[in-house]
Symmetry: C2
Subunit: 236 residues, 2 copies
């Protein structure tokens, strides 16, 4: 079966967490909106559907007769199918809990450049963005990263739940990548405080399928339309 | 088995979504931090644990040997055990997807009074809060509520996935309750646009276990320390 991923064609965004899982699994998939112009229209149409399981927002994944929305929900589904999550109920719940905490973290990163609203441009909310970013860098970044650093220490590593890779590790890799892009100045100093998280990042980057993906044209470069954006004013 | 719920003792907050599921199910549970003063200390200690599955933030639920964090994850677990979610994989994924969309909605409600950061008081971010609330009432509130209204129409109702109650319906009830508390002026006008969502709310309120819970001292009144806060300036 070939999966169909529906996501915005020009950004990594939340879709990237799904792409990384599909790529690591070596799964066959089409990135529908990137294939041609009709793709975005098809995506919008599915979201407007009156029946079935229309998503509030992309990404969503078609898998046979299923259409699954919400990033963490898609990853939970793929994790079970592609050995990217434990088989036990306790293990599955734990990895999903971690993914939902990553989702909260990522939302806070997004809000550094959009504290007032998603329907406005960054340029219309620069002042509040500067304040929110300062608070993020000082309070939230160390709190979230410190939490995951402590978990890797507790699990014995090298991955967040221990010796076995899960979809949460792929997402943590992406978070570090994104933070480095958005806040290079802050991260340069801060990375020494989270050595285990950086080691996890490096291990994921070196996974054969991930390394090949990162080198491929399928990996969209970070840019200022995405989730992780680099604005100098927000990095001090 | 008696569940142990860990959440802040003086607010509804995110814990309320879990409380509503436990109450509707008639499940035996202790609201640990509300039992006595040692409860909050016990909660903080569990969050600092070096091993196991410590949560980044409350709520979390102890269920036998499991400790489960993240509201939607807890609900997914309870849903399967207490007949508050479909048995089929497709049905389970759909209800969980809806719950995650509700979580996003609720986060946006929270950010109306805390657009700059959770480590600051509302009083320190009144200006941005006013702007964010205006954008929320104009754009986000109709978009989210319109989505759920459309789903109820599509499923045939009275609940969001059709004839059977799920944990997502309990959460939608709570969202409407919270919106009425936080934005009474806006909701008074807006409710006529979402009749099916209001009918769903009323049906949930009339469920015997929920009705009894709402009358009981276990239901904490809304207040200005919680997720849904009423500030006149934010309701126009």
């Amino acid at each position: 079966m070939r999966y169909e991923l529906y996501y915005w064609p020009t950004i990594q965004g939340r879709g990237e967490f799904v792409r990384l899982a599909l790529e690591d699994a070596g799964a066959a998939y089409v990135d529908v909106a990137r294939r041609n112009k009709a793709g975005v229209a098809a995506m919008m149409k599915l979201m407007q559907a009156k029946a079935g399981t229309p998503s509030f927002a992309p990404p969503f994944l078609k898998a046979g007769s299923l259409t699954i929305g919400q990033t963490a929900n898609i990853l939970q589904f793929l994790g079970a199918r592609h050995d990217l999550a434990p088989k036990s109920e306790a293990g599955r719940l734990w990895v999903h809990q971690l993914q939902l905490t990553i989702a909260d973290f990522v939302q806070e990163v997004h809000d550094t450049h959009h504290p007032i609203g998603t329907s406005l441009y960054y340029e219309d909310q620069k002042g509040p963005a500067k304040r929110r970013s300062a608070e993020f860098r000082k309070e939230r970044l160390p709190k979230y990263c410190g939490y995951f650093e402590r978990l890797i220490a507790g699990s014995g590593g090298p991955f967040v739940t221990g010796r076995k890779l899960t979809y949460a590790d792929l997402s943590l890799f992406q978070v570090i990548e994104g933070l480095r892009y958005a806040f290079p100045r802050s991260m340069k100093k801060f990375e020494r405080d989270i050595p285990k998280l950086i080691e996890l990042h490096d291990r994921v980057a070196a996974l054969p399928n991930i390394a090949a993906y990162l080198e491929s044209p399928r990996r969209i470069p970070f840019n200022e339309d995405g989730l992780f954006r680099h604005y100098k004013a927000l990095d001090k």
